[in-house]
Subunit: 358 residues, 3 copies
């Protein structure tokens, strides 16, 4: 790819030679050859420009000019957005051979679209359908009656249980599990006031499935459990980090962001564009409205209104959390002040000649 094409794809200003061919993005300190583009968006990386072996560099337009001249300089204005576009240009994905590996065990009645690739030792169950261009890496297990859309990428060790439905362009990272059984028992043990040796615990079986919309991404070692009778649903465009747990019957809207180690209990309903910080826990049957934000580490035990920003345990409006935390830091001072006031009261009572202490 030519420097000129990169600048154009980023909508960025180019100074110098647009004809340099680039085949790799690197930190300035790592550049080794003329085809490396040194990416210096941070002050630290920009400092390394002085010594870089790169001929072409990418810098932030708002930063001071590079410490020396280069054959080509691309200056970008919105660093993070530029980084998204730039990395997309150069992401060839995990190297793979393409085609269907001879060791893959594919049910005779499974249907594979054009240009599907399937890695070594992957198994695909009866009647499952894989859409055009989807890449499935080695050692994936896909159950019976599963549907996966086109242009997807399923990494090694992913398990997709029977009957689950996955949209187009979905990325699922290694060792994620879609469609394990829900964790549901009778009686409702967590709320039972009398769970004694006499109570026989009955398993509520999971007969439903998981339905995942288009353009969803699911992180490594994340789990999405199947519903009891219906579908656990993840809306279009939602992004889920590593180690996230989504319980049975949960419904998550579109374009949500669930950071690492978020845990969602059963039957939770989450709207669109909701953002949950790392490690957030949500109790069962809670409802979280559109565009709500929950700060990292919070525990949500009751409904959250659309657009609300909540934090803490239990989660409450963030301004309230901040206020409480402020006063928490002043407890000692308050105790001391009250003690001093008590002494003054003693003295006043002595002077006035009247004790009111009990």
């Amino acid at each position: 790819m030519l420097v000129r094409d990169i600048a154009e794809a980023l909508g960025a200003k180019l100074d110098g030679d647009g004809d340099i061919a680039i085949d790799r993005l690197v930190h300035p300190a790592w550049a080794e050859r003329p085809s490396d583009l040194a990416v210096a968006m941070s002050p630290q990386a920009a400092a390394a420009l002085a010594q870089t072996k790169a001929h072409a560099v990418l810098v932030a337009a708002a930063a001071p000019p590079p410490p020396r001249s280069f054959s080509a300089v691309i200056a970008i204005t919105e660093p993070r957005m530029a980084l998204a576009r730039l990395t997309a240009l150069f992401d060839a994905g995990p190297p793979h051979d393409g085609g269907i590996h001879p060791t893959a065990v594919i049910a005779p009645d499974a249907t594979l679209g054009p240009d599907v690739s399937i890695g070594a030792y992957t198994t695909i169950g009866a009647r499952s359908r894989i859409g055009a261009g989807t890449r499935i890496l080695p050692q994936v297990t896909i159950g019976a009656d599963v549907t996966i859309g086109g242009q997807g990428l399923i990494h090694s060790g992913v398990r997709i249980g029977h009957n689950c439905r996955i949209g187009d362009r979905v990325i699922i990272h290694s060792n994620a599990v879609i469609g394990a059984d829900g964790f549901s028992f009778a009686p409702d043990l967590m709320s039972a006031t009398a769970f004694t040796a006499a109570v026989a615990v009955q398993r509520v079986h999971s007969l439903g499935n998981v339905v995942i919309g288009d353009d969803v991404e699911i992180g490594a070692c994340s789990t999405i459990d199947r519903a009891t009778l219906e579908s656990t649903r993840i809306g279009r465009g939602s992004k889920i980090d590593d180690h996230v747990h989504i319980g049975h019957n949960v419904i998550i809207g579109e374009s949500c962001i669930l950071c690492g180690m978020v845990g969602i209990s059963g039957s939770v309903v989450i709207g669109d564009r909701v953002r949950l910080g790392g490690g957030v826990g949500v109790g069962d049957h809670v409802r979280i409205g559109d565009q709500a934000v929950v700060a990292a580490g919070s525990g949500v035990g009751s409904d959250v209104a659309p657009g609300a920003f909540v934090s803490g345990y239990p989660a409450q409006p963030h301004a309230r959390s901040v206020e409480q935390h402020l006063y928490l830091g002043r407890q000692k001072r308050l105790h001391d002040k009250v003690a001093a006031m008590a002494s003054r009261l003693d003295e006043l009572e002595r002077v006035v000649g009247r004790t009111t202490k009990k």
Copy 2:
């Protein structure tokens, strides 16, 4: 299965034609054919009965009568218990071919009971024994000298390390890991007051195993580490959700409930029928008594008495947590009140003609 048989299995009242054959449970809105039983236990689902295509419906006896007549109506009294029985009736489990897949790598001296089924690419180590009727799905790894009881279900990607012992009717969900090494070092680094560059960290190796009782269920991506010299033990009937971590040397009693993302440090001892909410953490060597309950998100740093209900971080009796939380919300008011009282003291002192402030 006939409607009559279902009603009888649930101990529920049946009105109408008991001879309708049912082959599927569905939400009322999803019913498509006469063999669908529309399950309407919630008010939302009951509302959908008006438009359902189902001929047979299941409703809560306590709810208002269905909005129109049906060929058959089953009315249940205890919804959650009925759901457990009902879903058990219809759970055929993950579809599988049965038998031993030709690609399974089974040690010549491993022993398989009658009716064991083993999926593609599963490996079973030397001298291991699998009990009658146990189903092992594709791509499971079972080490040497492992014992698994009868009628179990081991999902894809489960890893069971050497020497571990699993009881009868145990269900282990995908990508769970039984028998990884414990996380133990010398000196005891978390409590060491002087961990300097001079300290050489020594690994405490894990020579013990994991022993899991009958009727235990273990969730997807959960880990149970092997003991140092003895056994990490999970008692009969305990249920463990997804992403649960159980450290080395831990002993858990019978019929416990561990919700998602619970983390149990090394050498913890937990009694019978203990319930841990989602995300609970338990520090090492802590003891939790029979029938104790720990609220979701709590951190348990010291022993919990039998039957106690604790919450918070560090966990304390729940009533105390509630009280503290109540006062937390009143901090501003208290500060304001104290400030007003200080003014009154100033004024009183002025009137009395005596200053006691320091």
Copy 3:
């Protein structure tokens, strides 16, 4: 191994017959044969010595003498360090056949050092290199251009993505994932004040890798994401427990201890010999200095100085957390005291004949 050799390896005192051959370490209650060494470091285990069938026993020198005589008694002074050395002596690792299993799929241009063993169904990608003596168990996936050092142990189900570099003597437990993509989007959604339906979420692709130093151990189901352009780095000798998540671009120093379920957000920088208790969360771009300690369950939202001991949410100096917690428990008493003082003020004002209340 002879009792004499064990005592010598531990630097421990031996009384009795040093020529007894030992082939197993057991709890005193489990001893069955003369070649069992009964290990009784805890008071509980020591109590079991009265009934043990072992002829040779290992006890703590500081404990009361054993309740009866034995053929050989090893008395150790530093129990935990002795346990590390003792278990290392007897750890043969998971039993395996050695050699390259015929079902392993190894790229023709991959390079295997001497004495490498590779289990069934493991796949190794193009140009990858495995160092001498490293054992790779069944069903591991190693991508293209991966380097793994010598004397390592990679357990079943581990996924190592393309381009990652692993040092010597590294142990990675089952189902851990090294080199999944980072969780990074544009705009920066968690900090965006206006994330509306109009915002198109762009994926920041992960073109970097993961670099893991010598002597690192990584727990089961842990994930270490690859960097955007450079390397996510784990320093030499650091130990990582199960279910730990390490985000993209993170740099962790040497000899750190990360307990179970720790979550590290993107671009965090952690020094040497840092200890993070179970369940600790660290926000993105935070820096934690050398030898800092973070108590279990804490949430770290801002930088931590070298050597600091912090706790709580948000994490603060531990002494401050303890103080705040102490006062938290006294809130009711303070309210009551303030209420009593208000009554005294009322009475004083009545006596003095002057009301100052508003």
